[in-house]
Amino acid sequence: MNFPLDLRNVVVALVAAGLLLLPLYSALSGNIFILTLFTRIIIFALAAASLNLIMGYGGMMSFGHAAYLGIGGYAVGILAAEGIGSGFIQWPLALAVSALYALVIGALSLRTRGVYFIMITLAFAQMAYYVASGLSRYGGDDGLTIYKRSDFAGLINPGNRVQFYYLCLACLFGGIYLIWRIVNSRFGLVVQGVRSNEQRMQAIGFHANRYRLVCFVIAGTICGLAGALLANNTDFVSPAVMYWTRSGDLMVMVILGGMGSLFGPVIGAVVYLVLEEVLSQFTEYWALIMGPLLLLIVLFARGGIMGLLGRMSRG
């Protein structure tokens, strides 16, 4: 990787180092809570990174991305409830179902553009929410408890907090690396080109929607992995994880961090969730602050945190 030394890279390096060393700090200080908090943050960072792939690089504003968190989670939960506890079966299935869902929803939704697309993806995610609520055999509205985490035949023990943390972190770093390679590949350039000027790309010979759809499926699959991780983290899965406001949260993380930047979603997830945690210590009504804050960010801080750091580096 070719990193010029600028503020963004410094911040990213610090955050990455912090995430790597966090369990050490937790062990030394005895603060277990921070370990579980950051496990959750890392999982959402992965979900946000997958959304950034289609939003930031692909120009597809999907307001239904949280559906994959649910799909991945329920794949794990349902299999566990039916007695299949092996992670080697659960996780690939979570990925496969997410991919299939993304394929079908994507093929339908990508027939539309702009605000139609936003509304359609929103509607389909809400559909997934209602379907899950209707699954009375698997808890319905109340959700499904997962009594035993995914079993990896001794290879790794998700029940151990530290091991699980590093598993999630590995998935996050792996996911970011994969996205980095995709973005710079032939495929990635086409997807970005289609975002930039679809008419031009069609005129030189690219079937724009086919590339969009494949990108959509890849992003959904990665988020399905995040869903499987999340279900393991909370030992629980419920329709609420797919509620449309969760999709909104993911979008906020992407925008906050800086849409279209590789590490932006990670920064965004960290800031958003830490802020939420801190604010809720002070007041039960943290959304009263968060809401207008969002409004202000949209109005004034284009390009999110990474954008801000980039501007600070330059001048």
Binding site: R186, M201, A203, A208
Partner: protein
């Protein structure tokens, strides 16, 4: 060098295109022979860009047919026509603003170099694509500006880039929509010289307002007014045609006597 006996490379038959109540293309028929440089001229609003858009697939006609290299392409989407060898430059510059000039051209080359469902290797490091881009940029005179983002290029440089992008798709037929619009004198001269070179390698359909360039370059000229062809033929015949002069070139050149 123009084989008028052979099948035309492009055949347009009775093309019709309406926009609400307006007839933008009115039963238009046209032939373009392989190897020729065929200019299309006409006053503003004549429907020239509408015609080009229907030829390349950005717009679908209401009726009529378009045949390219013997194939009926009337219903084909634009990316399919590009694959068959039809390339276009846009009247209103249509490039990828977030990418560099070299990226723009390399992507065009990439589109015609196998499939792009490759997810791992760095596409910017594919030597043959970058070389193809560099040679196209050199042809239009932009090799020094290869790594400049399109948004930072001057208007004239962007028009030249449009041409480079179209060239990189290795077309059989090049449809150029006012490539010299907004170019300064030096740039225009350079563009005309370039087109003179290109006409020996690829069939060109040129939409232009610059009459000097048109008469210097064209093998044949078709004149469009209100979506209809009012004249089509060799440049000298067009220059002398009364209807054309009245409609487009200016009344002062028209022969005044109407008494036969």
């Amino acid at each position: 060098m123009v084989d008028s006996l052979a099948d035309p490379l492009l055949r347009v038959e009775k093309l019709v295109r309406r926009f609400g109540g307006i007839l933008a293309t009115d039963n238009l028929s046209l032939d373009v022979a392989a190897g020729e440089l065929h200019a299309i001229i006409g006053p503003n609003g004549a429907g020239k860009t509408t015609l080009i858009s229907q030829l390349t697939g950005q717009l679908m006609p209401n009726s009529g047919a378009i045949h390219f290299a013997g194939r009926d392409v009337t219903g084909l989407p634009s990316y399919r026509r590009s694959r068959l060898g039809l390339a276009r430059s846009f009247q209103i510059t249509s490039l990828l603003p977030d990418f560099t000039a070299a990226d723009n051209v390399a992507l065009a080359a990439q589109a015609h170099d196998g499939h792009s469902f490759r997810f791992w290797g760095n596409a910017r490091k594919e030597k043959h694509l970058r070389d193809a881009a560099r040679s196209a940029l050199t042809r239009v005179g932009l090799e020094a500006r290869a790594d400049v983002p399109v948004s930072e290029l001057s208007h004239g440089e962007q028009r030249e880039l449009e041409l480079a992008v179209a060239l990189a798709t290795k077309p059989q037929l090049l449809l150029l929509d006012e490539p010299m619009a907004g170019l300064g004198a030096t740039e225009s001269t350079r563009m005309v010289a370039l087109l003179k070179e290109l006409r020996r390698e690829v069939t060109i359909v040129l939409v232009e307002h610059d009459m000097e360039a048109v008469f210097a370059l064209a093998d044949r000229i078709t004149v469009l007014v209100y979506g209809r062809v009012i004249a089509s033929g060799m440049p000298e015949a067009i220059r002398r045609d009364e209807e054309v002069r009245r409609a487009y070139l200016g009344d002062q050149h028209a022969v005044t006597s109407h008494v036969q």
